[in-house]
């Protein structure tokens, strides 16, 4: 199932640690986690509740400061010895990372097209270009017929497809997904995972997903288990 890996990883973690609190209250959420994810790979992070999956996803998404370690995203060293190497982490996320959420998190006041276009406009595209490209993306994901629908009018599967389109809008090569199929039934979960796999191949991207959903395990190239903050390749 795994695609041919290229030599340069899109995500490289080296000795990432994260602890909360100090002294007797100290909790080590991640301990010396190292990981490489290559283009076209779809990777799963598994583990029981509190094992550090979301913490790791937040660090890769540059929304949580690690305590130690280094990280490269798409060939750029963004974290060294626990210190961010860029001050504009939001811009970094906008350019390099796409997020897919458990409950799609579409902005309820924008229609499907604008939910995708807003990311493009934040990156500097003009309104016309953004809407046109958003429409194309929705067509690619076979949800074009719902491009003017408001999120409240979309089914769970449709909303998740729009959310995927939004994650892909700025052509990021790293896509982080937090329980992307948790709100979907098995059939739709399979469709969404196939879609993500195809996108990873087409766009030469890497997808890292936190999941508990056993019915989609066969869609992943690699599965990592997190236990007590330590990462093990399954």
């Amino acid at each position: 199932m795994a695609e041919q890996e290229s030599d340069t990883p899109l995500v490289r973690l080296d000795g990432i640690s994260k602890h909360f609190g100090e002294g007797e209250t100290r909790v080590d959420a991640l301990r010396d986690v190292s990981l490489e994810v290559f283009p076209r790979q779809v990777v799963a992070l598994l583990g029981p509740s509190g094992s550090g999956k979301t913490t790791l996803l937040n660090i890769i998404g540059c929304i949580l400061d690690p305590s130690a370690g280094a990280m490269e995203l798409d060939g750029e060293l963004v974290l060294h010895e626990g210190q961010w190497q860029r001050s504009d982490l939001r811009r970094l996320r906008l350019e390099k990372i796409g997020f897919i959420f458990q409950f799609h998190n579409l902005l309820p006041f924008l229609d499907a097209t604008d939910n995708v276009a807003v990311v493009l406009q934040l990156a500097g595209a003009d309104s016309g270009t953004a809407r046109r490209r958003a429409g194309d993306l929705l067509d690619d994901l076979e949800i074009g017929h719902r491009k003017y629908a408001m999120p409240a009018k979309l089914s769970g599967g449709e909303a998740q497809r729009v959310a995927i389109a939004r994650a892909l809008a700025n052509s990021p090569r790293i896509i982080l997904a937090d329980e992307p199929t948790a709100a979907l039934d098995s059939k739709r979960a399979g469709i969404v995972m196939d879609l993500l796999r195809n996108l990873a191949v087409e766009r030469d991207a890497a997808i890292i997903a936190v999941t508990h959903d056993e019915k989609i395990f066969d869609r992943f190239d690699r599965i990592f288990h997190l236990r007590d903050g330590r990462l093990a390749d399954a």
Partner: protein
């Protein structure tokens, strides 16, 4: 893409309802400001009506409005002869209750000499009093109409003219009658009482009594100097027009003015708190969306812009609704509501500042949102 506009449009009904609620609140604030101003203007209206420079009243009083004053009507001639005085007129003021359309009508009766200062400033409808007796010019707010006859005291008067906005500090509509009629109304005893006085051998008091003599001065004459001249007559006091207005605004209606002023200030504070709460709540409801925006890379200025624009739109629309409402209905209030453009503008600026400060609270909350909260359930 204007996120503030899109969000408003998405929940347009709710947003407009909030604006209407805020508009009603701001309308009440505007109404209170108008009532406050109206109270002061009403208090000054009667004092300004004769368009005079000097008020000559009984010694040691601040009459005729703040305190009772009774002086001889003959003094008008003496005042008229003072250097610098161009015209003088005797005047009386009295509040009466008359029967009108089956109810009681409170009237503020002003007696004046037809050819001298003290009469109505303008006749809006009908004509000025032309006869020496039993004619009246009434304010429109009294409900009296041209040609209507009304009994005041023991005499019946015919309304020949209507004035506009002539009310006393209590809001009672003013009616103008001749000085002679007013003196009889105020000082003439009823026949049984007069007979008792005669039987006791006591002469009835002179009818030629007035409450004040008003005087117009030559443009070059100093009101203060002329007042000082009159005060040298120990039995009289003289009050300049400026001092009279000060007495009216600072003394006669002072408590009412302060009461309404304080209530208006409280209303403003309540409005500010409510605006702040609305805007803060609007922001708190969007925290998950704000976290999502942050996570997908929206800069702070996009989020701040969304909150501030919505706060401004809320304030602007609410204020417009409130101002339109009060301007539309202010003439139906039982007392005058005076709204000058500067009052409306000042409240507008206050609402703008309150919205800006309130949006600051929302912005602070929004900027503290952790983008990680967008992840997970």
């Amino acid at each position: 893409m204007n996120l503030a506009y899109r969000d408003i449009r998405h929940k347009l009904g709710r947003f407009l309802l909030t604006c209407v609620g805020l508009g009603l609140l701001l309308g009440v604030v505007l109404a209170m400001i108008g009532i406050y101003r109206g109270l002061v203007v009403d208090a000054l209206t009667i004092a300004r009506a004769p368009a005079v420079d000097l008020w000559v009243v009984e010694a040691n009083t601040r009459g005729p409005f703040a305190e009772a004053s009774r002086i001889s009507g003959d003094l008008r001639e003496a005042v008229a002869r003072i250097a610098g005085v161009t015209a003088a007129g005797s005047i009386t003021y009295q509040t009466v209750e008359a029967e009108h359309q089956g109810g009681k009508l409170r009237l503020y009766v002003i007696g004046y000499e037809l050819t001298r200062p003290g009469g109505p400033p303008e006749i809006a409808e009908g004509r000025d009093i032309a006869r020496s007796h039993y004619e009246m010019a009434a304010d429109r707010s009294s409900g009296l109409t041209l040609g209507e006859r009304i009994r005041i005291g023991r005499r019946t008067f015919t309304v020949v003219g209507l004035t506009r906005n002539q009310v006393n500090s209590g809001g009672d509509p003013a009616v103008y009658i001749t000085l002679a009629d007013a003196q009889k109304l105020q000082f003439e005893l009823a026949p049984p009482a007069a007979r008792v006085q005669l039987a006791r051998g006591t002469s009835s008091s002179s009818l030629n009594t007035v409450n004040a003599v008003v005087a117009r001065l030559h443009p070059n004459a100093s009101p203060d100097a002329t007042a000082a001249t009159i005060r040298r007559w120990k039995h009289l006091a003289a009050i300049t027009q400026d001092d009279q207005e000060l007495i009216l605004s600072r003394s006669l209606v002072d408590r009412a003015r302060r009461q309404i002023g304080l209530f208006t200030s409280l209303l403003l504070v309540v409005s500010a708190v409510i605006i702040a709460l609305i805007i803060y709540t609007m922001t708190m409801e969007k925290l998950k969306q704000i976290a999502t925006l942050k996570l997908i890379g929206a800069p702070d200025r996009t989020i701040i812009g969304m909150i501030v624009q919505q706060a401004m739109a809320l304030g602007l629309i609410g204020f417009a609704i409130g101002a339109t409402l009060i301007i539309g209905i202010k003439d139906y209030f039982p007392r005058r509501v005076v709204l000058e453009p500067d009052n409306v503008a000042v409240l507008g600026v206050i609402v703008f500042v309150v919205c800006l400060l309130s949006s600051g609270l929302g912005v602070r909350a929004a900027l503290r949102v952790d983008p990680a909260t967008a992840l997970g359930g």
